[in-house]
């Protein structure tokens, strides 16, 4: 399709200063980095939950200090000599791991309050950031908070920096939520002292150096196995009058048995004279202070982490919402094209279908041309020799400098006129051609487009219906060699045979293409002619024709063959102009979109602007879900989308009677070409938003489409 300079050569706008490219690139980089940061934060939050007491087998433990191996469950390695502590007799330190959980922790707190018992909650930082109020409630009700890492990893398998991050960040978020800087730490996957082995020693010493007491347990209820309340009670009940640190869980699964057991265990042991206290209370008077006030720095760091996770949560929710919208739009479009477009094709191909009496009125064909010497000769010849009575061809030479007019004159075709005009752009050239046209049926064809002999005749047949004001032809790619040519061929076939049929059914064809379109002169007049304030003058005109009350229809049997861009740069320029022009036209006619006149126009906005803008999310979230969230369903979803694309492509090719061979490139098209189109669209949207003026740009022509393909 042709593009034309819309400005005089001497009035070309200066290119954006190169010195601004670096800041712009940095802005894009920072915005992308912020997005990636949010995604990474979200990806790091889900806790890798494996039951704490999962058996690890017998391992060497000779490096574990003997006093620790056989000592009490509260291990103090902060001083020069290791020390351990046990709960005093008739004292139970209930401990709950892996929370806080908004479903189960409040119920456990209610039971504890009911029985006036206190406990210690070893929390995960990743859960605290999303449950700060619940964390605060724990301490407000007299319980104690300990650290159980941020994401519940097996700490000994992590590098030192990550171990430090896990502990310090969790302490910070606890400090932010409660105002206390807990120094109690329980490593994930721990149980009793005799389960410690040599691999735990380094981590134990590091936590000691950080000033933390490691709290293991005397009794492991193994409630995560859900063995029943009776078993949990039996496992959590100490022998005789012995004190004990009891391990339970308030998150990580269904904790109803834990709650039921707790509700019976506490009164039973209270009747035996037991007290239920926090770990700190078991140390009172004989061990270090374990629950000091938080420092300002800790609180600020915790606040920053909570805020970051909050922002990341909102960002990801927004992305999921947009992805959902994109998915719904994609599914809706797929269903609609498969149902309505196929119905449209079948309806038009039934023997009884007719637009009305044959239209044999003479036709004026306008060919605007700017430097089209390479392509215009076969184009004009194909038009002049059209099998329709009374065809006149008017070539508007828009100040070409390559002898375009002479090339046309050299064809010596009796029904072809050349009118040379000063440079004014394609819309002006078409207006001029309309002024010179003798006939009331006006066909507009690009100078790089070759039509089939009967294309013009078929194109004007819908004018038998007096309500029809404009007709879109079926434009096909003539140079479909190479990947780029095949991808554009696929895109054209789908666009014309599915999307146009869909929009025809909905009564809202947005564009009668400049490559091949017919208009009733009255409709052109009613639409106010072609305007110069958008770069997609064909879309602008088509919507104006709609708004003037005329029907715009698609005639698939009127075929023309156009030359598609052969290089990425050329393609980018063309699509950049198309998408920008389409946005201009839709914005210009936004009232028509909002009022729904023509009624289907909002679908055009949804499917041609909104869906392509959101579609990159499908690919981004697929990669994110598969790689960072370990969600295989993300890949399945993407493959399902690919399958749907393939089905629609096959249907489009069948409707157009095209061999399906080029479809082998469809997967590659989805991976590379589609992304390129997204970038073009985003570029166009940014250009529109910033108010920059986009100019016409001449595409390089090869002239390889000389005759319609067989």
């Amino acid at each position: 399709m042709s593009v034309y300079p819309g400005t005089r050569p001497t009035e070309q706008a200066p290119a954006a200063p190169r010195r601004r490219l670096l800041p712009r690139a940095l802005v894009v980089f920072v915005l992308l980095a912020a997005l990636v940061n949010m995604l990474m934060v979200e990806a790091s939050i889900p806790s890798l939950y494996i039951p704490d007491s999962a058996p690890r087998g017998v391992r060497p433990y000779d490096a574990v200090p003997a006093v620790v191996h056989v000592g009490g469950p509260i291990i103090d390695l902060t001083g020069p000599e290791p020390a351990t502590y046990r709960a005093p007799p008739k004292t139970i330190a209930l401990t709950f791991d892996d929370g806080p959980d908004p479903a189960w922790t409040p119920q456990i707190l209610d039971v504890l309050r009911h029985h006036q018992a206190h406990a210690t909650f070893f929390v995960l930082g990743s859960r605290v950031v999303r449950n700060t109020d619940l964390t605060r409630r724990i301490t407000d009700e007299g319980h104690e908070i300990g650290v159980h890492t941020f994401t519940h990893p097996r700490l000994t398998a992590l590098p030192a920096w990550r171990q430090g991050f896990e502990l310090s960040t969790t302490r910070s978020v606890v400090a932010y939520a409660t105002g206390r800087a807990s120094t109690l730490y329980r490593p994930p996957y721990s149980s009793t002292n005799d389960a410690l082995d040599n691999t735990d020693v380094a981590a134990l010493r590091d936590t000691g150096l950080d000033g933390l007491l490691t709290v293991l347990s005397d009794l492991d209820s193994e409630d995560w196995r859900r063995p029943g309340a009776d078993t949990i009670i039996r496992r959590a009940t100490p022998r005789g009058d012995a004190g004990a640190v009891v391990l339970m869980h308030d998150a990580g699964g269904d904790r109803s048995q834990t709650i039921a057991a707790l509700d019976r265990l506490i009164p039973q042991l209270q009747q035996r004279g037991y007290r239920f206290v926090t770990v700190s209370e078991t140390l009172r008077g004989r061990g270090p202070v374990t629950d000091p006030p938080a420092t300002t720095a800790q609180t600020l760091r915790g606040g920053a982490a909570v805020a970051m996770v909050g922002i990341a949560d909102v960002t990801l929710r927004l992305l999921w919402l947009l992805l959902l919208i994109a998915g719904v739009l994609f599914a809706a479009r797929t269903l609609m094209v498969l149902i309505l477009a196929v119905q449209h094709a079948h309806r038009r191909r039934t023997p009884s279908w007719s637009w009305g009496p044959p239209v044999t009125d003479p036709v004026s064909i306008i060919v605007p041309a700017f430097n089209e010497a390479t392509t215009i000769a076969p184009a004009v010849r194909s038009l002049a020799l059209s099998a329709h009575p009374g065809v006149e061809v008017i070539v508007i030479d828009d100040a070409s400098t390559d002898g375009t007019a002479q090339v046309v004159e050299d064809q010596k075709l009796g029904n072809v006129r050349v009118i040379s005009v000063p440079s004014g752009g394609k819309a002006s050239a078409l207006n001029t051609g309309t002024g010179f046209a003798h006939h009331d049926l006006i066909v507009m064809v690009d100078a790089d487009t070759v039509v089939e002999p009967d294309a013009i005749h078929r194109l004007v047949q819908p004018f038998a219906d007096p309500r029809v004001g404009a007709v879109s032809g079926n434009v096909k790619v003539g140079n479909r060699h190479g990947l780029l040519g095949r991808w554009q061929h696929i895109e054209y076939v789908i666009g014309f045979n599915l999307d146009r049929r869909l929009y025809d059914t909905l009564g809202c064809i947005p564009t009668v293409p400049g490559a091949l379109g017919a208009f009733r002169r009255t409709a052109l007049h009613d639409a106010g002619g072609l305007h110069t304030d958008t770069l997609a003058e064909d879309t602008d005109l088509t919507i104006a024709v709609h708004r003037a009350g005329w029907r715009v229809v698609f005639e698939d049997a009127a075929r023309a063959w156009t030359e598609a861009p052969t290089g990425l740069r050329q393609l980018w320029r063309q699509r950049y102009r198309w998408s920008f022009g389409t946005m201009q036209a839709l914005w210009k006619h936004r009232r028509a979109v909002l009022t729904g006149k023509p009624p289907g126009l909002p679908f055009v906005v949804f499917f041609t602007v909104l869906l392509p803008l959101l579609a990159p999310l499908i690919d981004i979230m697929t990669v994110y879900g598969a790689v960072f969230l370990d969600r295989p369903e993300a890949v399945w979803g993407w493959l399902a989308m690919m399958a749907a694309q393939t089905v629609t492509a096959v249907v489009a090719f069948r409707l157009d009677h095209e061999p399906a061979t080029p479809l082998w490139t469809l997967p590659l098209q989805q991976v590379f070409y589609r992304q390129l189109m997204y970038l073009v669209l985003i570029h166009s949207a940014l250009t529109a938003f910033s108010g920059q003026r986009l100019h016409w740009q001449k595409l390089r022509r090869t002239g390889e489409v000389a005759v319609p393909m067989k």
């Binding site: 980095a33 920096w161 920053a304 002006s428 003798h438």
Partner: protein, 108 residues
């Protein structure tokens, strides 16, 4: 496109025709094919065929500016400043956040 436009128009019949002959004293003749029965009045002037008519540029005055165009560049400047401000703020905040979170873990 630039805010100007052009269109071709046919000039009114000149007092001297394109061949330099005076046309006012001669009886004008209709030019072109006449089909069917047409009742016409006295021919007032001789009009050259449309395709041979002299054409000229008719300035159409001020055309609407391109959609989205921001001729003064105010919107562009504001957007640029805003994007720079947002980018710098984001960069500083991200740097400060990760330094505060990882710094304590790594250094402390």
């Amino acid at each position: 496109m630039e805010p100007y436009g052009t269109c071709a128009y046919t000039r009114p019949p000149p007092s001297v025709d394109g061949m330099g002959r005076r046309s006012g004293r001669r009886t004008p003749r209709a030019v072109g094919r006449v089909a069917g029965r047409v009742h016409t009045g006295r021919v007032a002037a001789r009009v050259p065929p449309l395709e041979n008519a002299r054409t000229d540029i008719a300035p159409l005055g001020e055309l609407p500016p391109p959609v989205f165009a921001d001729p003064g560049g105010t919107r562009h400047r504001r957007l640029r400043r805003l994007s720079y401000t947002v980018a710098i703020t984001l960069f500083v905040l991200l740097l400060a956040f990760w330094f505060s979170q990882l710094g304590d873990g790594i250094l402390g």
